[in-house]
């Protein structure tokens, strides 16, 4: 049994099955990878970002994150237009590991439908989702 880790899962975010978070702030809906995801991936070395102005679709890949262990798609939690991408990750991919909910943010979008967030997981539901996988 793996040593049980306490993953950070802030209350002000919503979560996907594929381990992205979304948080509504003054700019729009900000999206990143969860603490659990960055810990599983280990050291992130590259993040491929979409273009500002492009449209992302809920459930579809919008970017790629590469770590020393694996390459995985970033899946859009909700649909919308990309209004900002975190270009500084080109130089500092380690921010995804160091501060996944802060400096490690990946894109910010203008949500097509603000209520789409309701279909995503709460902190409590996501914690269960993480624990189920950690136990298997």
């Amino acid at each position: 049994m793996a040593a049980k880790k306490d993953y950070e899962i802030p209350e002000d975010c919503r979560y996907t099955q594929s381990d992205e978070w979304v948080r509504i702030d003054n700019d729009g809906a900000r999206i990143g990878l969860t603490d659990y995801a960055q810990s599983e991936l280990s050291d992130v070395v590259f993040v491929e970002l979409p273009e500002v102005g492009s449209q992302i679709e809920a459930g579809e890949p919008f970017g790629v994150v590469e770590s020393v262990k694996a390459v995985s798609d970033l899946i859009a939690p909700i649909s919308g237009e990309v209004i900002a991408v975190h270009q500084a990750l080109d130089e500092h991919p380690e921010w995804v590991n160091e501060d996944p909910y802060g400096r490690g943010w990946i894109v910010c979008i203008e949500p097509e439908d603000a209520e789409a967030l309701d279909s995503l997981m709460s902190t409590e539901a996501y914690r269960k989702h993480v624990e189920e996988r950690a136990a298997s």
Binding site: A2, A3, E40, D43, F46, E66, V68, E94
Partner: protein, 498 residues
């Protein structure tokens, strides 16, 4: 008894740029006699066609270069020095007979532009290799042109698309790929402009016809199947899977990288496969892992034959010629004819083993993988309860409580004199250690590898810090993989410019 010795002499070695000394050369050329006129190339051909001098180009003797590469090769661990159980890569011994045959002057001195009349030998050899691969695959036609496995996949996808376009299926743009396929499969499909539809394997690690039936449709172009899959498990539903795809109007592509588990025993053509690639550099013992180039012939059913790359080798009576007139061909995919040197080695291997010998390759490869799995089962995590084919997958699950990871285990194995297995692949298994011993390792060698992995599992309990800091005995110790990926330094630059 073999294994890492107690002593040895390895050299620190600077780069060729640092070894350079002004005026040192490999050969000394006599000064030109006065009767030879000096010309100004720029005046004749124009400045744009004349290369500038290369600043900082190393100046070395031949002996400097030989010693340099010999010394750095001594830091290395390769198939000629140690077992190399790199899962999915089939790092088998490369018989030296292959090299003897490939070095025959008639092959080695051949010019690629020599006319057919002067190249009957190599054309006959190519044709014989095609025939052998047709027999092994149970398919109808072969192109030897693709440079390696991934290009073979790309060619396969191009052939499939050409077929669909010619049969009113231009809108078929979805390629179905199981989550246990090789990582190159989705890349090859995407590069061919197709949409990838991933389908999950069932509880026993194989794809079920039901799961496949749920994702096929009018846009289905092909299924890309790796069989045995990357868990080393035979896709036992393969014929039903092929039926589901064929009924939906699609074709079945087989990634033949794991042919070392089928060779001489089972034919992909009998399983309903329409198109596949071979990796001559895996299954047929041509060098790879730094020694290549690779070679990735593609075999097809007759229905795809009109689209094969040009030129193709035609046999007419007892003569051979290269046929360039092939109106529906997808075109050329390699300069000249392919990596011809690898055809020679692969045919030498096939002919020296014969049909029976090739079947024994498979039997021994499967036996060796199962032997290792059984010896290691108690000491590592594994999802594999039954028999595997030519490779097995272990995990670091039992080592996690000691904070020892798959990467650490791989690094520590080098201290025992073995190349690490493939790690963190397949992606469907967390912390995977994918081990493929191949048929060419002896029982002594397999036991050495198993004993070492068991010793590492013990050490993970008693001295985990030592495992985490491995390797301890290699010339180059643990490298900073994170910094190498984040801040890659891809070429040497003069110190003053840094």
């Amino acid at each position: 008894m073999s294994g890492p010795g107690r002593s040895g002499l390895l050299f620190d070695e600077s780069t060729l740029f640092e070894r350079s000394r002004p005026g040192r050369t490999g050969v000394q050329v006599e000064p030109l006699p006065a009767s030879v006129p000096l010309i100004d190339p720029q005046a004749i051909w124009g400045a744009e066609h004349v290369r500038d001098d290369i600043e900082g180009f190393p100046e070395l003797s031949e002996f400097d270069v030989v010693r340099h590469f010999t010394r750095i090769s001594q830091w290395n661990l390769g198939i000629d020095s140690a077992a190399y159980p790199l899962g999915s890569c089939t790092m088998k011994y490369n018989p030296k007979l292959n090299e003897v045959v490939a070095a025959l002057a008639g092959f080695q001195s051949l010019h690629p532009l020599a006319p057919d009349e002067a190249t009957q030998g190599i054309l006959a050899l190519g044709h014989a290799l095609e025939q052998a691969l047709i027999e092994i695959s149970g398919l109808d036609r072969v192109t030897l042109q693709p440079a390696a496995g991934a290009q073979g996949e790309f060619v396969g996808m191009q052939l499939v698309q050409a077929y669909h376009r010619a049969h009113g299926g231009a809108s078929r743009n979805e390629v179905i790929i199981p989550d246990t396929a090789h990582g190159t499969n989705p890349a090859s499909a995407a590069l061919s402009g197709m949409q990838v539809v991933e389908v999950k394997s069932g509880p026993d690690g194989t794809l079920t016809p039901e799961a496949l039936a749920a994702v096929v449709g009018p846009r289905t172009s092909a299924l890309m199947l790796t069989n045995p899959n990357t868990l080393g498990i035979f896709e036992h539903h393969v014929q039903d899977l092929a039926n589901v795809i064929h009924e939906a109007g699609g074709l079945v592509y087989l990634d033949g990288a794991n042919m070392n588990a089928l060779l001489g025993v089972a034919k992909p053509g009998d399983m309903g496969v329409d198109v596949m690639h071979f990796n001559l550099h895996k299954t047929f013992s041509t060098p790879h892992g730094g020694g290549g180039p690779g070679s990735g012939p593609v075999a097809v059913r007759n229905l795809l034959a009109p689209y094969l790359p040009t030129p193709i080798i035609r046999k007419e009576g007892d003569r051979y010629r290269l046929d360039h007139e092939f109106p529906h061909s997808i075109g050329r995919v390699h300069a000249f004819y392919g990596n011809v040197g690898m055809w020679i080695r692969a045919l030498a291997y096939i002919r020296s083993l014969g049909g029976t010998g090739l079947g024994e390759v498979t039997q021994m490869a499967v036996l060796n993988a199962n032997y290792l799995l059984e010896r290691l089962r108690e000491h590592y995590g594994t999802a594999q309860t039954g028999r595997v084919m030519h490779e097995c997958v272990l995990t670091d699950k039992l080592q996690q409580e000691h904070h020892v990871s798959t990467a650490d285990i791989g690094k520590r194995l080098m201290d025992h004199g073995f190349h690490p297995p493939t790690i963190y692949f397949p992606l469907v298994i967390a912390g995977a250690l994918m081990i493929e011993p191949t048929e060419t390792e002896s029982l002594d060698s397999l036991d050495g590898l198993a004993d070492s992995l068991i010793a590492i599992a013990q050490e993970a309990k008693t001295d985990p810090e030592h495992v985490r800091a491995a390797p301890h005995r290699t010339f180059v110790r643990r490298v900073d993989e994170v910094r190498a990926a984040r801040k890659p330094k891809l070429r040497w630059t003069p110190p003053e410019r840094e």
